[in-house]
């Protein structure tokens, strides 16, 4: 019996010590933090505008952010997060990235052979890259390497292509692209213009056979204000997008149906 007594005494003493320490030195922690963190994708992509998922959770708990900021959350987990926080669930439009260039090696002209580090940022620092079009995708894969979701593929002909079904719209590729030709667009948009060069027809024709030639046929076949022009470049008005049929009238096929829509 004596050993039971000893064990009990030691146990009680230790429990007392823990209790005292917890009382005088313990830190408060919100139990909701862990639950919220589980609902986030955990990629720490920064798409919400905070430094990683944990920071975003902290911001939400402190009321500095709303649950809808994370582009990677599924609607189900978003509604759960709203429930945990006790706020109204907010509808958020899904956005995906699109590389606005279809000038791969077969159509775009190379003005010089680039022999250096396989990285677009480096290539742009050396005589602005090998591709003659200064708005063309260099295809050296910087965007694919920063994508936390593996949604960007570099084709065999050195062109970056976003797979919209994998893209969570975190904006990382948009930030890193030295040519600034990746755009974040609504996933619902039916068509995109796969060219970013507003330069004159004369310049574009010399460097790429897949460039927007600024013929305005698409604008004539769409409603007023659905397609605008920036120099010689057609631009989709994503607030009021044209129908998918516009793609058929483009003589250079630079207007392409959105892959996100095709895959549906």
């Amino acid at each position: 019996m004596f050993h039971v007594l000893i064990l009990t005494v030691i146990g009680v003493l230790l429990a007392l010590a823990i209790g005292l320490v917890a009382k005088y030195f313990g830190a408060e922690q919100d139990p909701r933090a862990d639950q919220l963190l589980e609902l986030l994708p955990g990629a720490n992509c920064g798409g919400c505008g905070f430094a990683g998922c944990a920071d975003y959770v902290k911001a939400m708990l402190e009321g500095r952010a709303k649950p809808g900021c994370c582009p990677g959350m599924t609607p189900a987990s978003l509604s759960k997060a709203s429930f945990i926080l006790g706020v109204e669930a907010e509808e958020r439009e899904r956005k995906v990235a699109v590389v606005c260039c279809r000038g791969d090696e077969s159509v775009a002209v190379n003005r010089a052979f680039y022999n250096g580090v396989t990285d677009c940022v480096n290539a742009v620092m050396v005589a602005n890259g090998g591709k003659a079009c200064t708005f063309g995708c260099l295809g050296l894969g910087t965007c694919a390497r920063v994508c936390p979701f593996g949604a960007i593929e570099i084709t065999e002909k050195h062109l970056a292509v976003v797979h919209p079904e994998l893209c969570r719209g975190c904006n990382k590729c948009v930030e890193v692209c030295p040519r600034h030709i990746i755009k974040l667009v609504p996933a619902k948009a039916p068509v995109h213009v796969l060219c970013s060069s507003p330069e004159s027809f004369k310049i574009k024709k010399g460097v790429c056979s897949a460039a927007c030639i600024g013929c305005r046929k698409c604008a004539k076949n769409a409603k007023e204000g659905q397609i605008t022009f920036n120099g010689f470049l057609a631009c989709i008005n994503y607030a009021n997008p044209p129908e998918a049929e516009v793609a058929d009238v483009c003589p250079v096929h630079v207007i392409a149906a959105s892959k996100a829509q095709q895959s549906k």
Partner: protein
Amino acid sequence: MFNQLHFYGGVHPEEGKVAQSSPIAEPPILESYTVPCAQHIGAPAQPVVQKGDKVLKGQLLAKPNGFVSAPVHSPTSGEVVELTTCLGPMGNQIPAIIVKSDGEDKAADPMPLLDPANSAPDDLKQRVGDAGIVGMGGASFPTLVKLSPPPNKPIDTLILNGVECEPCLTADHRLMLENPDAILAGARACATILGVKKVMLGIEANKPDAVALMTERAAKFDIEVHQLKVRYPQGAEKQLIYALTGRVVPSGGLPMDVKCVVQNVGTAAAIGEAVTLGKPLYERVTTVTGTPVVKPGNWRFRVGTFYRDAIRLSGGVKDDVRKIISGGPMMGLSVCSLDIPVMKNTSGILLLSESEIVQYEPHPCIRCGRCNDNCPMGMMPGILSEQIENMRYDLAEEWHVMDCIECGCCSFGCPAHRPLVQHMKRAKAVVVAKRKAAAAAAAAKKPKA
């Protein structure tokens, strides 16, 4: 001789200064000049002429747009044909003015002459700005800005950079031999502007004739001439200041933090001519060299001369050219076209043939430590490069990547042929972008709080 000043690290590439004995030649007037409006760091100049305007040599073509900017002047007399864009050495399109020459080369009236030692500092400073003078060693930073240090940064030493540590280039060397008085007048003008007593001129020991001549001439201007050890990058600002004065420019700081201002001898000569002759900057000494060039030499090219014309004047090429470099082989920019104009900072046009270009495949780092020994900034390019290869820019920042001066000594000596300096340039670009974004975010947050 026995007391050659130097710095820590560096390399000694083959000098290849074949053009050092050919005097500066005057090229004939070309049919037209394509004068870029962005020949400096900062905002491009704003054109003040229109298509069809008649201009004279030295007449203002474009005025500065903001404080960090510089005006552009016409290289010859003639007619403005077009306001357009042209390809710059960085491969980007820059606004340019095409001047068709009338063959008379009639100069506009010079600006009133000034005395470098006794004119008012503000007049001299004004002249430096009006003449469109920018750093001619390569960085092309507007000199007016450099000569206007903030009042809380006193300057006590002016350093003239006659080092020309880049291999192959000989423009500054020839300039020191042929026009020492302009350099010294310009130096005196800068000293007057800054109000400094001590003026030092550093020349690498491989130019003994220039050292001798400058020492002789500089005596009456009260300028010290120092001979420096032949070691690349002796001409980098921080290294030059350390070698001459023993002062260490703090990490992330500027020469003015250690009370110094550094001017290239070419810039000093331009200032001298602007002050004593009233002539704006529209021409510069440029070396055209490289093994494929038939007649390597130094030319006083007008700004706006295409590389094509420069190479043609040098007798064309005899070999297959694989690389054309604007500047020297260590830091120059390789260009992809001949239709790029000579600008105020084009110190050389270097052509490399098939046998000289290096197309290595990079190996993994064997950690030999040569990059570390060579690095004049005492960094660890090898480790940095591995971090950057793995996109760990955060680690790279922690390991001081921002101190890199991009001299290329690490890549030069790397036996594994790793693109070390290229990696660091990328990391610097990424880190700068990140810092800018962070600053913008902080600025956006502040008003709310």
